[in-house]
């Protein structure tokens, strides 16, 4: 015979273990490392950061090309992530499309639909890369935060980092008093036309958030083999 406190203690053990075992990591550390490195590389390759391309200081990338570049980075990173998630599911003996994955997809979908809407806008004449980048950063952050109930803590922190960075990125767009908040201004005045500067600042935000944040996340969550 066991008493109530013992039964409760056993139920507590069962519950905490089940919660721990059903945690779903929607972004693998390996994919974050690949995506983060790609984002930094793409930003440097196409932004060349502090050294604009032409003599007048203008940067020769249109908003459509800018969007296309980051869609390509997203596609490679998403495929890499799917590969590593598939490999992890295989090693656990689970189906690739597990209940955890379905739950994650349902949670992140609304935010990514909004992001996709913003992504399509440059193809219809919308020309503000800064607003586009801000929308991407905030939507990615909100998508990650939508998985809070079953995600590991590291992903939730990553989500908050994106949301906070996105809000910082939007300040110079809504109020000129915050113009000094843009990364370009922090690192010194950027030359070139306003359109060119906007793309450069966009590239910087992409490198700092999708690049640096994902690299930090990958370093913190890199799988360590049990000895």
């Amino acid at each position: 015979m066991i008493d109530r406190s013992e039964a409760e203690e056993h139920l507590r053990v069962i519950r905490s273990l089940m919660e721990k075992a059903t945690v779903y990591r929607a972004i693998s550390a390996e994919a974050a490392a690949v995506g983060g490195s790609l984002a930094v590389a793409a930003s440097f390759a196409f932004g060349s950061w502090w050294a604009p391309q032409s003599a007048s200081g203008d940067f020769r990338v249109s908003v459509v090309q800018f969007t296309g570049l980051w869609c390509a980075v997203l596609a490679v990173t998403a495929l890499t992530n799917l590969f590593f998630l598939w490999r992890a599911a295989q090693s656990r003996g689970e189906n690739f499309i597990s209940s955890g994955m379905r739950m994650a997809m349902r949670a992140i979908l609304p935010s990514y639909v909004v992001a996709a809407f913003f992504t399509a806008m440059p193809f219809f004449g919308f020309t503000s890369p800064n607003l586009l980048v801000t929308a991407w950063i905030i939507c990615h952050g909100l998508a990650l935060l939508a998985t809070t109930h079953f995600a590991p803590r590291s992903l939730v922190w990553l989500g908050w980092a994106f949301v906070i960075a996105g809000l910082c990125a939007i300040l110079p767009l809504v109020d000129r008093n915050f113009a000094g908040f843009s990364l370009g201004n922090m690192a010194g005045e950027l030359s070139g036309s306003p359109a060119s500067r906007a793309i450069l600042v966009g590239q910087q935000w992409m490198a700092c958030t999708f690049g640096l944040f994902h690299l930090i996340y990958a370093a913190c969550t890199w799988p360590r083999r049990a000895r």
Binding site: I2, D3, A7, L11, L17, A21, R92, G93
Partner: protein, 98 residues
């Protein structure tokens, strides 16, 4: 009336209860993953798994992928026993709440 005979003594031990709980969450678990999740020594984990296996609650699969790997899963009997064990615990808590 609570049927205490359904409170399986093999499962009731805390370490084995933890193993059974983890095995109930996925189709199968590799030995190394179980060890990492439960923070148990090799010897301790093997002993408990052997007890569960001999009781017919856990199945063992040995395969060689890139290296030899032993995986464990709940048998049908194990899954049923775990469900019944849970039900008894819930009954005890509910009965003493009244």
């Amino acid at each position: 009336m609570i049927d205490f005979t359904k409170l399986d003594k093999t499962i009731h031990e805390k370490a084995r209860l933890s193993i059974m709980t983890l095995l109930a969450t996925r189709p199968s678990w590799a030995f190394q993953d179980l060890k990492a999740e439960l923070n148990m020594s090799d010897g301790n984990l093997i002993t408990h798994l052997r007890v569960l296996h001999e009781a017919g609650l856990v199945a063992v699969t040995k395969e060689v992928l890139d290296r030899p790997q032993t995986s464990y899963s709940l048998t049908t009997r194990g899954r049923k026993a775990f469900g019944e064990y849970l039900a008894v615990l819930e009954q005890i808590v509910r009965a003493t709440q009244r």
